[in-house]
């Protein structure tokens, strides 16, 4: 009898749970229907433009993909940290130096957090910065050309994860280390981690005009894991906040050993103070070895320079520059609201969401109310800096973004949802499911003082059944929500490429009007450019052969080449003479152990071919450039190594 009663109660409970679930579903769909036609909200008619750009990191693709909102259409993949055979990035002679590091050439990267440059706390659409997690680097993409134009390696760092966020005038792009390591690197037992490993937080200055990057200083912090970061803004401009985990300083089985402390920290760094210290000669230059790769748009060529030292600062040298804010349970995301007052620590193992107050922090610092210190860095009292907490909003909070209207939106990985809550009252306003297991979310203008809060999209880690099945491996999925009303409204699912972590998005107008259509042939300063058919030639220097080649609809010049020998190193320097929008030409030669080249109008790109076989080998244009594209081809004759075939080239007539 008892068991029957028990099971009846259980059944009833389940039924109630289900029916309440149904109710909420129904009311949700009703409000959706009332709010209008969802399809209409994401429909961008043929030939019309999206209102926003979204730049999604590619995660393990190492690249960035460009999408339009609200349509969710993908426009482009921008190669950043990975070789990209589609355009020849990382394969052409000009772009190989972009992927050079102190560990040599690295063909792949793990890109995480894109962030758009800012002026006066507003995103300005000039550059996007993005971090490489595995072999720490920061890249800069010029949004005039949507090309990667600079990559700087970050020494003393490992797992470059709390990166690459910019300050409100793009004074710095900041790169923090997820893994602490011996600094300088040395051969030592792993078990001696505690107290010996250090975490470097790098402040990379950005030149106002050119955007060129240089490491201004690195703060050598205790050996915690620095997970994510965001700049202060408005009233808190001049500060930078980093979440930490593994304050236990474990080096093995971190899932258990780094989850023991009830509270970890948010590290608050007064970078203005450290900047002043450094400008007065503070800190020490330590020997280092890191690559700085810069792409020149006039020569269409990248150069890689090895830097030999970096300035490091020990936080104890600069009193009042660094504080720890206790934050529950291994916080992940570290997000600052548009006013700069609230610092949200998304304690991923905590039931509550902790929000710190910048004003209270300053007050506690002034009154020197310290709970203790860690490695000489003062720890503030949790209660003294706490602004409030959102009680039990969901499971596994990761990241928070803001709409600029006093609301915050937090992703919950474990409960697969986005929760909207109010800053100041900490009340939950709305929650919507995501499909499934959401990581980051993005609101256009996200990391700035002025979010453009019309859309929000969630980037999910698990796709499962959202699209037609494509076997065990599938693309990730994102969901777009309309956040202009009180309640969020799910508008669209769209597949994403690689594993997007974070994304940066903004209104389209600023970028659109600056977007370049062609490269000026006149301004092409490539040392091997042939700017007209008259400049074409073939030059032999020992066993190196340089072919100065042009392409224009619809021929190569020269297109008949003889006198190449097995064992030669043949450089095809291909200049595209076109000066019309969207007329690229491609280049590929049979048996080439390299990618194709895709050459934009006015550009020169070079590909190396080391022929191993005697014969007459065709080359052709790989881009369907014109009506006579199929005729755009040529032959190159390869003779035996000891042959004496003279070097000859021609176009439009037979070789004598």
């Amino acid at each position: 009898m008892k068991t029957i009663l028990k099971s009846t109660v259980a059944l009833l409970t389940i039924l109630v749970a289900f029916s309440s679930c149904n109710n909420s579903e129904k009311s949700g769909s009703k409000s959706g229907a009332l709010a209008g036609n969802v399809a209409e909200k994401v429909y961008v008619a043929p030939g019309e433009y999206d209102s926003h750009y979204a730049f999604l990191s590619g995660g393990y693709s190492g690249n960035i993909t460009v999408y339009g909102l609200p349509s969710g259409r993908m426009f482009k993949e921008i190669p950043v940290f990975s070789q990209f055979p589609t355009s020849g990035y990382g394969y052409s002679e000009e772009t190989k130096p972009m992927l050079n590091t102190s560990h040599g050439f690295i063909p792949w990267g793990d890109s995480h957090h894109p962030d758009i440059s800012q002026t006066n706390g507003e995103i300005d659409g000039r550059f996007i910065f993005i971090n490489e997690n595995n072999t720490p680097r920061i890249a800069k993409i010029d949004l005039k050309t949507f090309e990667t134009t600079e990559i700087i390696e970050v020494p003393n760092s490992a797992g470059n994860h709390s990166s690459s966020f910019v300050t409100e005038n793009t004074e710095y792009v900041v790169a923090g280390t997820r893994f602490s390591v011996p600094i300088p690197q040395r051969d030592m037992p792993i078990k001696d981690y505690k107290g010996n490993f250090k975490g470097a937080l790098s402040f990379i200055s950005v030149a106002p005009e050119t955007g060129n990057m240089a490491i201004k200083f690195q703060v050598l912090m205790p050996g915690f894991n620095y997970d994510l970061s965001h700049p202060g803004r408005g009233k808190s401009h001049g500060w930078f906040f980093f979440t930490t985990y593994n304050t236990e300083e474990a080096s093995t089985l971190l899932e258990v050993n780094a989850s023991q402390n009830d509270k970890d920290f948010i590290a608050a760094i007064n970078w203005k103070k450290i900047e002043a210290y450094v400008n007065n000669g503070g800190g020490t230059m330590m020997p280092a070895n890191y690559a700085h790769n810069l792409y020149d748009e006039d020569t269409h060529t990248a150069t890689s320079t090895m830097k030999k030292e970096v300035r490091v600062v020990n936080p104890s040298e600069v009193p009042g520059a660094v504080y720890f804010l206790p934050t529950p349970k291994s916080p992940h995301g570290c997000d600052v609201d548009p006013t700069g007052e609230y610092i949200v620590g998304n304690g991923k193992l905590s039931a509550n969401l902790t929000v710190h107050s910048f004003t209270k922090m300053l007050d506690a610092i002034e009154k020197e109310k310290f709970a203790g210190e860690a490695y000489g860095i003062p720890i503030l009292n949790f209660e003294d800096v706490l602004a409030g907490s959102v009680e039990q909003p969901g499971l596994g909070p990761l990241h928070t973004e803001f709409d600029g209207k006093g609301n915050a939106y937090t992703t919950f990985f474990i409960s697969s949802e986005v929760v909207k809550w109010k800053l100041g009252t900490w009340e939950v306003i709305d929650r919507k499911p995501t499909y499934y297991s959401v990581g980051h979310l993005t609101i256009p203008g996200g990391n700035s003082g002025k979010p453009q809060g019309k859309y929000m999209f969630a980037m999910n880690k698990i796709t499962k059944d959202r699209y037609l099945p494509t076997g065990p491996e599938m693309e990730h999925s994102a969901q777009l929500y309309d956040i202009s009303g009180d309640k969020m409204e799910l508008l669209l699912d769209f597949p994403t490429h690689g594993e997007p972590h974070y994304a940066a998005a903004m209104r389209a107008d600023l970028i659109m009007e600056r977007s370049q259509k062609i490269y000026s042939l006149e301004e092409n300063k490539h040392p091997y450019a042939a700017k007209s058919d008259a400049d074409t030639k073939v030059v032999r220097k020992g066993n190196e052969v340089h072919i100065y080649m042009t392409t224009i609809r619809s021929h190569f010049s020269p297109d008949n080449i003889e006198g190449i020998k097995v064992g030669d190193k043949v450089y095809f320097h291909v200049t595209n003479l076109e000066q019309d929008f969207d007329v690229p030409h491609g280049f590929a030669v049979l048996g080439q152990n390299n990618s194709e080249l895709l050459v934009m109008p006015g550009q020169t790109k070079s590909s190396v071919w080391e022929p191993t076989k005697v014969g007459v080998w065709p080359f052709y244009c790989t881009d369907f450039c014109s009506a006579l594209h199929q005729e755009m081809q040529g032959y190159i004759r390869v003779s035996a190594a000891n042959a004496d075939t003279p070097l000859k080239w021609s176009m439009g007539e037979d070789i004598e």
């Binding site: 062609i518 609809r553 076109e578 000066q579 019309d580 929008f581 009506a627 006579l628």
Partner: protein, 191 residues
């Protein structure tokens, strides 16, 4: 009459004529301005891109310079000078003479332009990549219209006067008005 003589000098400041080529894959059309002494791109590299299109059907490249670029400016300067001279010394009968001279010269210029256009559109490279014939079997020409719009294969070609031509037209008209006014005044006050 002074205005009449000065207005055509606007040709040195503004283009005389414009030929525009529209096609679906050119959402921003290709276009060329014809000045009294030059051809110019309307958008950067338009002429280069017109040449690239036209080489498929064997049309000649639009030349950097044609003899007319020397003759036309000289003609405008000389007639301008004559006009000034007449305005200063001459009477209304001379005004009529100047008006007729300008009219004749303008038509001669138009005819010259037509001849060039005809040659440009019909004198095709025998090795042209694509050869088109009319329904009657004759070789298709690609001459842009002298005035107005016309479909040429996938392009729609427009040919219309520009500000420079307006100045010239106003100048010539002013010449006639000067004559007419002069004649009226002459009647009223018999000398």
């Amino acid at each position: 009459m002074l205005f009449a003589a000065i207005l055509p000098l606007g040709l040195f400041l503004f283009p005389l004529w414009r030929i525009t080529l529209e096609a679906p894959q050119y959402p921003i059309p290709l276009a060329m301005n014809i000045h009294i002494n030059d051809f110019s791109d309307v958008h950067p590299h338009d002429i280069k891109n017109i040449n690239l299109m036209n080489h498929y059907v064997g049309m000649q490249y639009i030349p950097e310079a044609i003899p007319e670029f020397k003759i036309f400016p000289a003609g405008i300067l000389i007639t301008g000078f004559l006009g000034l001279l007449i305005a200063w010394k001459g009477n209304y009968k001379w005004f009529l003479g100047w008006f007729i001279l300008m009219l004749v010269l303008s038509f001669a210029g138009m005819y010259d332009f037509y001849l060039w256009e005809h040659d440009y559109g019909h004198n095709l490279d025998p090795k042209a990549i694509m050869k088109f014939t009319n329904k009657d079997g004759t070789v298709m020409g690609f001459q842009p219209p002298l005035f107005g719009s016309r479909d040429i294969l996938n392009f729609k070609a427009h040919s219309y006067p520009q500000l420079g031509a307006l100045f010239l037209g106003l100048g010539i008209t002013a010449g006639f008005v000067a004559y007419w006014v002069g004649k009226k005044n002459n009647k009223r006050v018999p000398s």
